[in-house]
């Protein structure tokens, strides 16, 4: 009786990779909460967190401890099971996207086993990201509805309509990119952006699709519910929005999933538009180092470094711009971004047809 004839080494390799990615994302998200406070402090000419440890570096740990210790309150009139399901779904969908990101180039171990720094290279990579993004709204929606609170319900309705509206422009802006790359697999998209300069032009997609990137970035901001698009948790109108009735670690999961989402979407944006783990003069560095394992780690470092720059961008935007009004948000999405994305798609198609004749 043959049940599972899968290579054990493969399972162990992927398991280690998954654990490292999960812990890494959690760690970076944890320190993103610290960085957010530090950035906001610097931008508002304050000192910011400085009590817990040097530069307040232990603040995320203290936060986590506090959230774990708090009393767990489930409102009397909430829909019990869905109320618990909400934050779980938010966290699950935040973490799922990391499965298809290529974190670095392959390297061979001394035993000849080739390690792939990607959990799954699937044929439909980018569509998988869309699938997960489109499911991401359930966490907020179900949580807000199950709380049985009018503010929460209003907030979850806002979140859902905002997510659906901006998903369209997100998808359209990406189609132009996919027309250029001709592949949905993130691994292939990264390989096409090798180095920094190729065939007499920048190899990174940002220099070929600047408008597409800007649309993608704005839509990502909206999908993440980050300011200036944080209408679902708009405190001046909705108190705290969809997580008003949540306490303890369930609230923590909601807050935390936002930061994980921010990290993963930064990684996806870097992968799509800024060359992923590629960096300038990488071929020369690879020649100098010889050791492919160390080179892979340098590549991972390049990817994470670019992602951190992207996260800082999100933070600067949050602490600079005021929040949109709801009608302005809808107008921007439907009347500006979608036509822009469509125009970008047409121009890209025309250029490919006339100049490159693919």
């Amino acid at each position: 009786m043959l049940l599972l004839n899968i290579d054990t080494a493969l399972i162990i390799e992927k398991l280690i990779l998954i654990i490292v990615i999960l812990l890494g994302s959690l760690g970076i998200a944890m320190y993103a909460t610290w960085a957010e406070r530090k950035v906001s402090a610097v931008m508002q000419d304050r000192v910011g967190p400085n009590r817990a440890g040097p530069f307040g570096l232990f603040l995320p740990l203290a936060d986590g401890l506090k959230l774990f210790m708090k009393e767990e309150i489930i409102p009397d009139r909430s829909t019990g099971f869905i109320f618990v399901l909400g934050p779980c779904l938010a966290m699950l969908t935040a973490l799922m996207t990391s499965a298809i990101v290529p974190w670095g180039p392959d390297f061979a171990l001394s035993s000849g086993h080739i390690v792939t720094l990607q959990v799954a290279d699937i044929n439909i990579g980018m569509l998988f990201v869309f699938g997960v993004v489109s499911l991401g709204v359930y966490g907020v929606m179900l949580g807000g509805w199950a709380s049985n609170n009018k503010f929460s319900l209003l907030s979850s309705i806002r979140a859902a309509s905002q997510a659906i509206s901006y998903e369209l422009a997100l998808g359209l802006s990406l189609i132009a990119l996919l027309m250029m790359t001709g592949s949905l697999s993130l691994r292939q998209i990264v390989d096409q952006q090798h180095g920094f300069w190729q065939h007499g032009y920048f190899s990174w997609n940002f220099f070929k699709q600047p408008l597409g990137f800007i649309i993608f970035f704005v839509c990502a901001c909206a999908e993440l519910n980050r300011a200036p698009f944080d209408l679902p948790e708009c405190d001046s109108e909705l108190n705290m929005g969809y997580h008003q009735e949540y306490s303890s670690m369930k609230l923590g999961l909601y807050l935390f999933s936002e930061y994980i989402n921010m990290f993963i979407s930064s990684i996806i944006m870097v992968t799509l538009y800024f060359g992923g783990y590629n960096f300038p003069f990488m071929d020369k560095v690879a020649e100098l180092i010889h050791n492919p394992i160390i080179f892979s780690f340098i590549c991972i470092g390049a990817l994470i470094g670019k992602a951190i720059v992207m996260i800082l961008m999100f933070m600067f935007i949050r602490w600079t711009l005021p929040r949109f009004r709801y009608d302005q948000l809808m107008k921007l999405g439907w009347k500006s971004l979608i036509p822009l994305a469509l125009a970008n798609m047409l121009i890209t198609g025309a250029v490919i047809l006339w100049f490159f004749n693919k």
Partner: protein
């Protein structure tokens, strides 16, 4: 007894699909129904994956689970339906429902019975991959594809026209 992983997944997913589909019609709370329907879509996507139709699987998730079911949930939340305000249907309506459902079931059963099974190696087929699907859609089936896109366009325009109607006396800006 020689099960392989393919068979185990197939039966598991089938049980999940049928079970969740039953959950959709049997649960009293409309929100639970919607969640069961989402799970059913996931099970069906799993079946697509078993047939190596990755594109279909993920588009099924994006379109049905990610967009249409969100709208369903949206409407149910707005209407604030609960188990205790479920409208009771009359006996005659229930009977009509049973008869029409039964007739549909009969037609589907007859169609499946007369269909001849084609023996293809499902797990190795390349038909469902995005390259092949795109080629087939834009060469062999280009006319139906374009006609259906015109249909969608007209539906979108229709929705805009209906939505605009009441807007004339509301102050813009």
């Amino acid at each position: 007894m020689n099960y392989n992983i393919h068979d185990i997944l197939f039966w598991g997913l089938s049980a999940m699909a049928v079970g969740c589909a039953l959950g959709v019609i049997l649960s009293r709370n409309p929100v639970n129904s919607v969640m069961f329907l989402i799970l059913t879509f996931f099970a069906i996507s799993g079946h697509y994956l078993l047939m190596n139709a990755q594109f279909l699987a993920v588009v099924n998730i994006i379109v049905y689970a990610g967009a249409i079911m969100v709208l369903f949930l949206f409407v149910i939340m707005m209407m604030n339906l609960n188990a205790d305000v479920e409208p009771q249907k009359g006996q005659l309506v229930q009977l009509a429902g049973v008869i029409s459902g039964g007739v549909l079931f009969l037609v589907i059963l007859a169609a499946i019975k007369s269909a001849s099974p084609i023996d293809v190696d499902k797990s190795a087929s390349q038909i469902g991959l995005i390259d092949n699907l795109g080629k087939v859609l834009f060469t062999k089936f280009v006319l139906p594809f374009e006609i259906s896109s015109v249909l969608f366009l007209s539906a979108m325009i229709g929705a805009i026209v209906i939505g605009k109607k009441e807007d004339t006396h509301v102050i813009n800006k």
